[in-house]
Symmetry: C2
Subunit: 575 residues, 2 copies
């Protein structure tokens, strides 16, 4: 029986009756693809990614060298339990329910500081997806110090109200521990403090491109200070097809291969920490006046704790000294001691104009922590066997007042030497934002747009019109910023702001120029080698001829051959 | 002076202090690119699109033949005022503030019915962007009937609370009127009722691809029941460069060209209504049990107004008769008279499993209103001069319980005849969702993915690996659904659900097969023509030879020539 609703003509009055508010959880529940949960395969990756991002951020903020264990276990043919454990600072009990079961809640949104998380959506979204597909709660275990009690909680999200519902809340013992790759037979080493989150969800585990494996591998490469343990346990009948066997699925050139070691369930693999230092702590900055829109300026004047306009300008913005604040007031024709709230309502436009006309230093950029050229080349060496590597870290730039840095790397193999990539395959593009690998939504990403927009033919690669260049090349691009503009809440692709596109293009072009120099030399050398081989064929005949003409002895003939070959060697580079 | 925040190590306690809620408006203000407001150019298009979508939806729901005027006027070098007026049912006064100044508020989210708007975000987002960039309010004028008073309002959005702030609220006279393309000198014709919304924003007007012009033109093509007036007024010094002059920017084959006519400011252009009937009203449907996730099932059981499980199943879902409801209960081992709320908490999983195992009719599909094959071909004919057109409307399919229909069209020109597209350009892809043209984010769209995934070489087009095919071809794809899954809130690209990709691929392959038949015939004919031309060269010589050999008169020679040519004509098709 089809129950099709009324199709009678509506009026303004009947329509008004149907208008209502939509809770943000309802919105994302219906649009779960926006959060990266559109397929079981992607869902698994997204959940792991959100949990690992949070763990890394927490460890780095607390200045703790991160150690993370990712445990993925199949519970029924279409279900997995994802458990991610870190050695971070832990979470105080009162915050746990909101952090894990309320969308748009967090500490990173209202500040300008480089971090992996930004939105206060990710991990709650993963929990909501688990709840949606399995009815199960998110389980959290956290301890803030060895001396403190551990808290164990189970939470769900009330999607109508976007509020957490607490199903269990106990002080418990502390179990989280990390496997020991050096002594795999030993019991795991307990973490002193940290957080463990566990979510059961409808999911699918697939290896290869766009997999959890690929994400974690790239994650280890761009976070060399991370010790990462990873295990996948599949139900018996799928073990044969899918279970990663110790080493053979890893790229052959990875000098820092994960170590496989035993334990219950599947086999733990460890990406060992390569450096013992944390990246420098990224600083938090104030908004730069030139990146602030009129509406935001008005809001900031209303919110300021300063009592004067001049004070508000000097305190709430970066690159505005007390003297510059005075200059702006004068230019706008406003009283420096005016009440900021009053200015917000009446004269914000004059102020906005005066700010735009005032010369200011560019935003501070020491708040960014790029990966660095050496580390990018090292990372590429793990990804691909090539005979040319290069990398560039651009100077910081600014979009909408947000400082950012673009870094690019390029590796080029000899044709035919790269097994993963045929000669007519598009180049492989690795994308990163604030040290997080981006796997999905490549087509929507500013990085792809920039790569496609560069004229690679000029640098010696073939390139179909409007498409990626073709060849045995891997490109890597990283954006580091206090605010990365993603094209959707799933944070898989960078939005195409003009400034970002421009910086990415410049970085790629520089890599392209270097590639072009290398390819020309390789071509020249191959050409010289060909000519030399060709001439070398004639040396014995020449020597024999000279021997006959000049009546040389066998020893003299051999000497002539030797000297001709030597001459050839000396000159072949100039051929 | 750089005011970089503290970079001291955090603890769980210091981190807890910074945790807070993020309002949905704050979130989208900072992420305005998610809503389609990342560049001034795109902002103008997005604002027009949101207003036109709403106007069309309102008219169709009220069963009014839509007439819409889009008036874009430059107010300063970087600012425009966008005013969109419709003859729809109007909006009751109490609803105006929330509809135009509150994100996630609307009538379309909580139902399954084919419409352009879905989310309750679009027009409020446009207003919020205007407010952000110019500090100006959104102005609304609405009247629900000739006999009623008109309401004029100015609203802003309090982004901290995601609530409307009313700045003006008056009963006023009624001004909205539409220009008369038949009598351009006459005063405009007043609309009896409807809504007019006006937003001033930072924007840029650019013609060509991805422009307001392109959007409105495509909009008129897929909505032939729409009478659409459009005007752009630029400031004097830019007039020369940008002002569209009456006809020459229109595609030459558009038989339904907009008529340009006078009036104050710029010149109005009208896309005339081509058909006088509204599309059939799309019906509203209930969720189909097979598309409902466990979490949603639980929520529905909690929310139902039925007192028994059996009643809830039969009432709240489509394709569940009373008898089927009983069957499901029996299979799940549940009492048909059980309280649905109790089932939700305890036994929903058994119920979920029983539903999955019960055979059900597919969701009703009469709720969809596709464009239709004839209309698609007619639309393509307006877009491109070609010698081959085809279109296909697939049977309805289902993703996540939502019925949808995919339609595809293809037009192929002779190489060199299509001025807009060079022989080595990728094919042009026109994308539509629920009759709305999608212009941005092509790279993120399931449509692009489907086009790229089809093996076009098999159908006679060249195609670089992993890229769009190449050639003088225009492809058109339309998805009609009770819920279109977009990849972001700006609704520019369709998410790649497997079922959608599959349907799009099948539709494209069918177009490809037809194209291949056409191209083979064209090739065969060209080949035959070439041979015929070749033989024709010899006819005079042959006739002359025969004349000599047989001693024919001049008249007989001419007769032989004529008869040889005739024979050739008769047989050339079999060559």
């Amino acid at each position: 029986m089809a129950k099709t609703g009324s199709t009678a003509a509506e009026t303004a009055e009947t329509m008004a009756q149907r208008q209502r508010e939509i809770s943000v959880s309802e919105f994302f529940l219906k649009n779960r693809h926006l959060l990266g949960f559109d397929s079981p395969r992607r869902a698994l990756l997204t959940a792991v990614k959100e949990a690992v991002d949070n763990a890394l951020d927490a460890c780095e903020e607390a200045r703790i060298l991160p150690e993370i264990a990712v445990d993925v276990a199949q519970t029924s043919p279409a279900r997995f339990r994802v458990e991610v454990t870190d050695n971070g600072p832990g979470i105080v009990r009162a915050q746990i329910p909101k952090i894990f079961a309320k969308l748009l809640y967090g500490s990173k949104f209202h500040r300008l500081r480089m971090s992996r998380g930004q939105q206060g959506i990710g991990i709650s979204a993963a929990g909501m997806y688990g709840q949606l597909t399995t009815g199960q709660s998110t389980r959290i275990l956290s301890r803030t110090a060895k001396s403190k009690a551990a808290h164990s909680m189970e939470v769900q999200i009330d999607t109508r109200a976007n509020k957490p519902v607490i199903l269990r809340d106990e002080e418990t013992g502390w179990a989280p521990a990390f496997p020991n790759p050096d002594k795999p037979a030993d019991p795991p080493v307990p973490a002193g403090h940290g957080t463990s989150v566990s979510i059961e969800m409808e999911a699918a585990y697939v290896r290869g491109r766009l997999s959890v494996d690929e994400f974690l591998q790239q994650c280890a490469i761009v976070n060399p200070h991370l010790q990462l343990h990873y295990r996948v346990t599949l139900l018996a009948k799928e073990e044969k097809d899918q279970q990663p066997t110790s080493n053979n699925q890893q790229p052959t050139t990875n000098s820092q291969q994960p170590t496989a070691h035993g334990g219950g369930g599947g086999t733990w693999q460890t990406y060992r920490r390569a450096v013992k230092e944390l990246p420098p702590p990224p600083g938090e900055i104030q908004p730069h006046p030139h990146g602030v829109e009129l509406g935001v300026l008005m809001q900031m004047l209303k919110d300021t704790s300063s009592r004067t306009l001049r004070g508000a300008l000097a305190t709430d913005f970066s690159r505005v000294s007390d003297r510059t604040a005075l200059e702006i007031c004068t230019r706008a024709g406003l009283e420096p001691k005016a009440n900021p709230t009053r200015i917000a309502h009446r004269e914000s436009e004059a102020l906005f104009k005066a700010i735009a006309e005032t010369k200011l230093m560019r935003p501070p950029t020491d708040c960014l922590s790029p990966i660095g050229e050496a580390a990018i080349v090292a990372g590429l060496k793990k990804e691909i066997q090539a005979d040319f590597y290069t990398a560039i870290t651009r100077d910081p730039a600014v979009y909408r007042g947000n400082p950012f840095v673009i870094e690019a790397g390029l590796a080029c193999s000899k044709p035919g030497e790269n097994e993963e990539q045929a000669a007519d395959d598009p180049v492989r593009v690795l994308r990163f934002a604030n040290r997080v690998p981006l796997l999905y939504q490549a087509g929507a990403c500013a990085v792809t747009k920039a790569v496609t927009g560069v004229n690679w033919k000029a640098y010696g690669l073939s390139q179909p019109k409007g498409a990626l260049p073709v060849g045995p090349v891997v490109l890597m691009l990283h954006m580091a910023s206090v605010w990365v503009p993603f094209t959707s809440e799933s944070k898989d692709a960078i939005a195409s702001y003009a400034e970002i596109l421009r910086e990415a293009t410049f970085a790629l072009q520089e890599c392209g120029r270097r590639l072009s120099v290398f390819l020309s030399r390789r071509h020249r050398e191959a050409e010289a080698m060909r000519k030399r081989d060709y001439i070398q064929l004639y040396i014995p005949h020449l020597a024999l001829g000279l021997k006959g003409v000049l009546g040389l002895s066998d020893r003299e003939e051999a000497d002539v051959k030797r000297r001709l070959a030597k001459m050839l060697e000396r000159t072949h580079l100039d051929l």
